[in-house]
């Protein structure tokens, strides 16, 4: 252990720092880092167990601070690790609100398999909740719409990419083509605005 240049918990702290500093919506899951932290936890734990048993056997009080110190390091590692996961959790949840039930391909690549699983489960229970929130009317309330207080019925939007045909509630078909500018009912295009296909011109 004395051979290690790094202190206990550095790796775990790095995980968090990386996540905090990344400008992406969600950075790639740091498989390696998580594994290293887990190994560190394990190593500390095993050393502690070994020394604890020798402490029990010999009653050598001088080992006591060391044991305590190791335990604290272990706790810290664990906490950092879980904080890392929890923060990712939060961001994954935000994805659901932002992009709807399907994760965009490029973001999906930075998630690990349990995370995708988590997303799907979350998405499912949210959808189930939204369906039931309509109560006996059978009308699901889409909570992911109406994210902002409505200022006007219609908004002016600019098309940022070729999207193709888009049908409004009243059957009008609008061709959304890059660089065209439209004036459309806010409620119906809100999701497109959130996906970045349309840009709301203030």
């Amino acid at each position: 252990m004395s051979g290690q240049t790094k202190l206990f918990g550095d790796k775990a702290f790095d995980l968090l720092k990386e996540l905090e500093r990344s400008s992406q919506t969600i950075p790639a899951f740091d498989d390696d880092g998580v594994r290293q932290v887990l190994e560190e936890i394990k190593a500390i734990f095993e050393e502690n167990v070994a020394q604890a048993s020798s402490y029990n056997a010999s009653g050598d009080r001088s080992l006591w601070p060391l044991l305590n110190f190791r335990h604290a390091a272990l706790q810290r590692n664990k906490r950092c690790l879980l904080a890392y996961l929890y923060e990712r959790c939060k961001r994954i949840k935000a994805l659901r609100w932002e992009f709807g039930p399907i994760i965009p391909g490029d973001i999906k690549q930075s998630l690990c398999e349990p995370e995708v699983h988590f997303f799907n489960n979350y998405s499912k229970s949210l959808a189930a909740y939204m369906c039931s929130a309509g109560y006996n009317q059978g009308l699901p309330i889409d909570l992911t719409n109406n994210l902002r207080p409505p200022k006007s019925l219609y908004i002016e939007v600019r098309c940022m990419e070729d999207y193709g045909k888009f049908e409004l509630d009243d059957g009008e078909v609008i061709h959304l083509k890059k660089n065209s500018q439209h004036y459309l009912p806010r409620a119906q295009v809100e999701s497109l605005v959130r996906q970045g296909i349309l840009h709301h011109i203030a």
């Binding site: 439209h182 004036y183 459309l184």
Partner: protein, 576 residues
């Protein structure tokens, strides 16, 4: 068909419908479309705005967006081409054309329903009468009759001919063969005569391309009649008409007339706004201003040097001109230290007196036309812009095409820059405009020194050999050409120089070998008439050069670089 009552015959028709607005790449069009959009927003009408460049762009945009749109508004485009022929729209689609380009296509004028041109028919000049250019259907039948008597015979035998034909047919039988022959020849002769007459009329009609009223102003008047006008809309209309003035699309006489009208709008709207927040609210003022580019945002010396009018009158690209400028500044009492720093940083006293100082000395230094009436917009405590500042900034933005920035992006940016929320876009545009004008001046200076403006007898021509970051775009090339022509005329000793036009060309795209060609009317010509559109067309026919007249400005064309010499030769022959 002309639609004069915009409120009832145009706007009322559109209320509650979905509308496609197709906008040309010019500032007047942007302003007009912004006003239209504001109107449509008030009435919660869904619309789609598509910027287009040129005829092919119009065709493509309509093809893509037609969907089930029944009403299409064309802003500053489409008036000069036969819309129905070009776009092949469905029967129930109506086009409203708000186009300042002239002459209008006769098919649009005489379309009875599908194409409506916004504007006053009585303001339009010498539109050919319907009979003189369209052969009525009866005549057509006569013609057929004459061409193939066999067919006529058949018709008579079967008795299936139409009534008037039947009336004629028996008579035809009674006439002897010779007489019939004679009659036919007479008829053909009359027809031929009529045709050549028609061609003459059409040539006269289409010979010159010019501009009508600013589209933005037209639309603003609609807003006024709907009582939905406000300061912003008015300002956009002013920017629209100022563009016409600065790019020589309007005679100074009619500009002055329009000014009076706008002034009454200004005072009406100013009085309407309540007094509460007068300091921070936007305010439009009429004032006499100087034809100096962006002088409010530039040092005075720079602005003088880079302004076409002042620069050419004083020949500021020469050493003597420079001296003369210093003389002027001296007489004005403007210290060089101040003249060389940004106008905004000049002494307040000097700033206040600047206009009157220039005006006083204008006669003496032979720059009397430097004064013109215009409007300024001020809002908040700092920003103050002349309409011309807006125009130059928007022009620069529109032509700031780069690799990652498509022309459409530039268009939308220019459109954004119009609204007051996006002041940073405007100031970026002003900075770009400075670069553009400085580049124009340097180009003029070096070209004149190297004597690159050549005379072809009846016109001057100027050929840029290499692609240029600025001048590969129509407006910038136009600015350059106009500056150059004026500069050349100012230095030239030839007496007829002010009467000669200039053709400037610049390579567009080295890979494709295309170049841009712009024709500029002579200096002495005050009216915005330009005969190059037609002349280019004819020269191309004669020389067999493939010409791309895609722009809605007929005097701006594209052709192969390799064809350029041949084309210019043909043009020389044509114009002498």
């Amino acid at each position: 068909m002309f639609v004069q009552d915009l409120r009832n015959d145009f706007y009322r028709q559109l209320v509650g419908k979905r509308i496609l607005i197709v906008v040309n790449y010019d500032i007047d069009a942007i302003c007009a479309s912004r006003i239209l959009q504001a109107l449509f927003k008030y009435d919660h009408m869904l619309y789609t705005v598509v910027p287009i460049m040129g005829v092919t762009g119009l065709k493509r945009a309509y093809g893509e967006h037609q969907g089930d749109v029944k009403f299409v508004v064309l802003v500053n485009c489409g008036g000069c081409v036969d819309i129905v022929e070009l776009l092949q729209p469905a029967e129930d689609v109506t086009f409203f054309i708000c186009d300042s380009h002239r002459p209008l296509d006769v098919c649009n004028i005489y379309s009875d329903r599908q194409v409506c041109i916004l504007g006053d028919a009585s303001l339009e000049e010498n539109i050919p009468a319907f009979e003189t250019i369209f052969y009525d259907s009866e005549g057509e039948e006569d013609d057929e009759e004459g061409e193939s008597s066999d067919q006529e015979q058949q018709n008579n035998d079967s008795g299936a001919g139409e009534s008037d034909q039947e009336d004629q047919a028996p008579r035809g039988h009674k006439l002897s063969r010779l007489e019939r022959h004679e009659q036919r020849i007479l008829k053909q002769r009359a027809r031929r005569q009529w045709e050549s007459e028609r061609d003459r009329i059409m040539f006269e009609y289409t010979q010159f391309s010019y501009y009508g009223r600013s589209a933005a102003l037209l639309v603003f008047e609609l807003a006024w009649k709907l009582s939905k006008d406000n300061m912003d809309l008015l300002w956009w209309a002013i920017v629209g008409i100022t563009e016409q003035l600065l790019l020589g699309k309007i005679e100074s006489g009619s500009y002055t007339l329009e000014l009076e009208q706008i002034q009454s709008h200004v005072s009406r709207l100013t009085n309407k706004t309540n007094d509460q927040n007068t300091m921070s609210a936007s305010k439009i003022c009429f004032e006499n201003d100087l034809h100096l580019v962006l002088y409010r945002h530039w040092p005075v010396t720079e602005s003088m040097r880079y302004s076409r009018y002042a620069s050419c009158q004083l020949k500021l690209w020469t050493l003597r001109g420079e001296k003369r400028l210093h003389e002027l500044l001296l007489e004005m009492g403007l210290p060089l230290v101040h003249a060389r720093q940004t106008y905004g940083a000049m002494d307040l006293v000097l700033r206040k007196e600047f206009y009157s100082m220039v005006e006083r000395l204008a006669e003496k230094y032979d720059i009397p036309d430097i004064v013109y009436g215009t409007f300024t917009l001020s809002y908040g405590y700092r920003s103050r812009y002349a309409a011309a500042d807006y125009v130059y900034a928007l022009l620069a933005i529109m032509e700031s095409v780069k690799k990652h920035k498509t022309p459409e992006d530039c268009f939308l940016e220019a459109s954004d820059a119009l609204s007051r929320q996006h002041k940073h876009l405007l100031s970026a545009g002003i900075d770009q405009a400075k670069l553009l004008h400085a580049a124009v001046f340097r180009q003029v200076q070096s070209s004149l020194e190297a004597r690159q403006v050549h005379s072809a007898g009846s016109f001057f021509y100027y050929v840029l050999q290499e692609e240029h970051a600025f001048f590969s775009y129509p407006y910038a090339l136009g600015l350059l050409a106009r500056f150059l022509l004026r500069g050349h005329v100012a230095t030239s000793r030839a007496r007829q120089a002010p009467d000669l036009p200039l053709i400037a060309s610049c390579p567009l795209d080295a890979a494709q070998g295309m170049c841009l060609l712009v024709g500029i009317a002579p200096v002495r010509e005050d009216s915005p008439r330009n005969f190059f559109g037609k002349a280019f067309e004819q020269a191309a026919q004669k020389s067999g050069v493939a010409l791309l007249q895609d722009f809605f400005e007929p005097a701006v064309v594209q052709l192969r670089q390799s064809d350029l010499t041949r084309f210019l030769d043909a043009l020389t022959v044509l114009l002498t």
